[in-house]
């Protein structure tokens, strides 16, 4: 006790901070960081989950570089990212921008947009899977048929399957992004808009010169957050293509699904670990690049 009372105020604050941080630090250390570190080690080993681990150096990485499936999956993952992030950003902004100006049924509409975010991804994936079936089962094809448009093979086509899987993923994330955008819009002082009104500038100028620049922190957050989400996409793909996960012909397979497949169907832990290291590097580089591109000057 003497020891504690002799500390300066600053030192006491540090003691208390560490007292509260101890548990989460321990938890993160053991449950998160230790396995993460181990994954790096395993990526240089061969291991089938039960047997001994053998050190094989860069073999897993060389195999990965020469694996055509990996490159297909790599491209898929970036397709999810490069279509999903801008699309959800623009759509959620447009919704938030208009919802912000709307008073009538505002709360109800906001709830409607937020609902998919709270819904289980599995349930949603299965509902959308039903939407995509052929006539007479699928909703979309029935609608198309009723106006005389030929059937579209949504989940059975190598070109349509990826966007078809991406659609519910974008939709699911919208509610959250709309809420964040609306909070950002509300934080812009009304007098900025009033000043612009008195200066007589048009709505486009207001949008591009005032609203969007002032939303920069919000946009950075949403871009980074949703990018990580799309790079890690798994449950929508897995549930919508359960008969042949990531199919047809790996056309919807993202990196996380490939890792899952390698690890728990192929029991090739070393190879799977090498893939996670690649995913980690992609996430790191993409996030850093975005933070750098969207930095405030």
């Amino acid at each position: 006790m003497r020891l504690y009372s002799n500390l300066s105020i600053k030192q006491k604050q540090i003691v208390w901070a560490w007292a509260f941080l101890a548990l989460p630090v321990l938890f993160y250390g053991i449950i998160r960081f230790y396995p993460t570190g181990t994954a790096f080690v395993i990526s240089f080993q061969e291991w089938n989950l039960l047997g001994d681990r053998t050190w094989i150096g860069w073999v897993n990485y060389v195999e990965l570089l020469n694996d055509p499936v990996f490159w297909k999956v790599f491209v898929n993952t970036f397709e999810y990212l490069l279509i999903g992030t801008p699309l959800s950003l623009v759509v959620s902004f447009v919704i938030a921008y208009h919802l912000d100006k709307l008073r009538f049924m505002h709360g109800f509409l906001r709830m409607l947009y937020f609902l998919p975010f709270m819904t289980s991804a599995v349930a949603m994936a299965w509902v959308w899977r039903w939407f995509y079936q052929d006539v007479p089962i699928g909703l979309f094809n029935n609608l198309l048929a009723s106006v005389g448009i030929p059937q579209i093979a949504f989940l059975n086509s190598t070109t349509n399957a990826l966007p078809a899987v991406l659609a519910p993923a974008v939709w699911a994330g919208l509610g959250f992004q709309v809420i964040i955008f609306m909070a950002g819009l509300r934080a812009i002082p009304q007098s900025y808009y009033e000043a612009a009104k008195i200066d007589g500038v048009g709505w486009w100028t207001v949008l591009t010169q005032i609203t969007i620049p002032l939303l920069r922190p919000t946009i950075v957050f949403i871009v980074v957050f949703s990018s990580i989400g799309f790079l890690r996409i798994f449950d929508h793909v897995f549930n919508m293509t359960t008969n042949n996960p990531g199919g047809p012909l790996n056309s919807t397979k993202p990196l996380v699904l490939m890792i899952y497949d390698t690890a728990f169907n192929g029991f090739n832990m070393g190879y799977a670990a090498a893939q996670t290291v690649v995913l980690f590097l992609i996430l790191l580089l993409v996030s850093l690049a975005q933070l750098w591109l969207l930095r405030s000057d």
């Binding site: 900025y192 009104k197 008195i198 200066d199 007589g200 920069r216």
Partner: protein, 352 residues
């Protein structure tokens, strides 16, 4: 440059009327200050002139146009906001240039205009800075610059000094007044600070509860207040109000004290006798108004405020700064009849 008129201007939100038919004529080049407590309708009036609030009924006339249904940009006005409303992501120059975005001026003309305004406001060296790198007073000047650059017929200021500290406020007050003398545009300035109103205005408009109480020069509203509200709102500390009755031109206070002939009216009625602390002297030549004991002293340096407990209630008077009476001392306060105001006790209006 233009004059501005408000004709029976009213504003209602749903069923609640907050502005009850305001009439005011502002001459070209005049500096008008709207002053009043919060919720009196002064900002609403300003925003209606600006076109940021719809006019419920009545007319806003700028120049010789009724502008009720014109967009703010068509009204030839510029406004300076309380929180400045300068854009944090734009440089000072871009902020000022924003006022010219919709103008049809050529690029070199715009540049010249911005340079001219920056020169007038003495901030040419700040043009490339961001607002975050400026002090409060400098930001205020940017906001004024953005308004000035358009050379509007009427400048509107919505409590522009309330975010500044006391010293800076005094300084900006002076700068705005100098600026007005230099550029000569019509200015409508809203504030809740009566000192700002007194020091800057050509004419003051005192408002309360959506009504204009009095319009006049600073001297008029100070020396000849139209009613008890104006009398007590303008001037610090507030005017003393002593209840009494007017009888045959003389006043008998509720406390029993009789104050000599100070009014020409001979009709008998209940009144409030108003005396400013400055006009209540300790050893004056005028008739005695009240006597009492000093309860509290507030030394201000040049003078000392004394709070005197009398039978008519607490009265504030000013005493000499060097030798004020002690607390507890018995004092006799007197006033020159010419400086005493008589108000009707029921309506609060001054009796003339």
């Amino acid at each position: 440059m233009a004059n501005l008129s408000l004709r029976t201007l009213t504003k209602a939100y749903a069923q609640t009327e907050v502005l009850h038919g305001i009439n005011l004529d502002v001459a070209d080049g005049e500096f008008i200050v709207f002053v009043g407590p919060s919720g009196c309708g002064k900002s609403t009036t300003l925003r209606m002139i600006a076109g940021l609030e719809e006019v419920t009924s009545g007319e806003v006339v700028i120049g010789d146009r009724v502008v009720n249904h014109l967009e703010p940009k068509e009204r030839d006005i510029a406004m300076v906001f309380q929180n400045y409303a300068i854009y944090p992501h734009m440089s000072v120059k871009k902020n000022i240039a924003f006022g010219l975005r919709s103008s049809r001026m050529s690029r070199p003309d715009k540049e010249a205009r911005i340079a001219e305004v920056a020169g007038i406001l003495d901030m040419t060296h700040l043009l490339d800075r961001k607002p975050a790198q400026l002090s409060g007073g400098q930001r205020q000047r940017v906001a004024i610059g953005r308004a000035m650059v358009r050379d509007p017929a009427v400048f509107l200021f919505d409590e522009p000094l309330s975010n500044l500290d006391a010293q800076l406020r005094t300084q900006m007050r002076l700068e705005i007044k100098k600026l007005h003398q230099r550029v000569g545009n019509t200015i409508v300035f809203v504030t809740h600070d009566q000192v700002e109103a007194m020091t800057m205005a050509d004419r003051i408009v005192i408002m309360k509860d959506g009504h204009i109480q009095q319009v006049g020069t600073p001297s008029e509203v100070y020396h000849s207040p139209a009613n008890t509200f104006v009398a007590q709102f303008i001037g610090a500390p507030s005017m003393n109000m002593l209840p009494g009755t007017l009888n045959g031109g003389g006043v008998r206070l509720a406390s029993g004290q009789s104050v000599g002939t100070i009014h020409t009216s001979t009709t008998s009625r209940p009144i409030l006798l108003g005396v400013r602390p400055d006009d209540l002297t300790l050893q004056g030549s005028g008739p005695t108004v009240v006597t009492g004991h000093v309860a509290v002293r507030e030394p201000l340096g040049a003078e000392t405020l004394i709070y005197v407990t009398t039978e008519a209630g607490e009265v504030i008077a000013k005493a000499d700064g060097r030798s004020p009476p002690d607390v507890g001392a018995h004092v006799t306060l007197s006033a020159d009849p010419a400086n005493v105001h008589v108000f009707d006790a029921d309506s609060g209006s001054v009796l003339t």
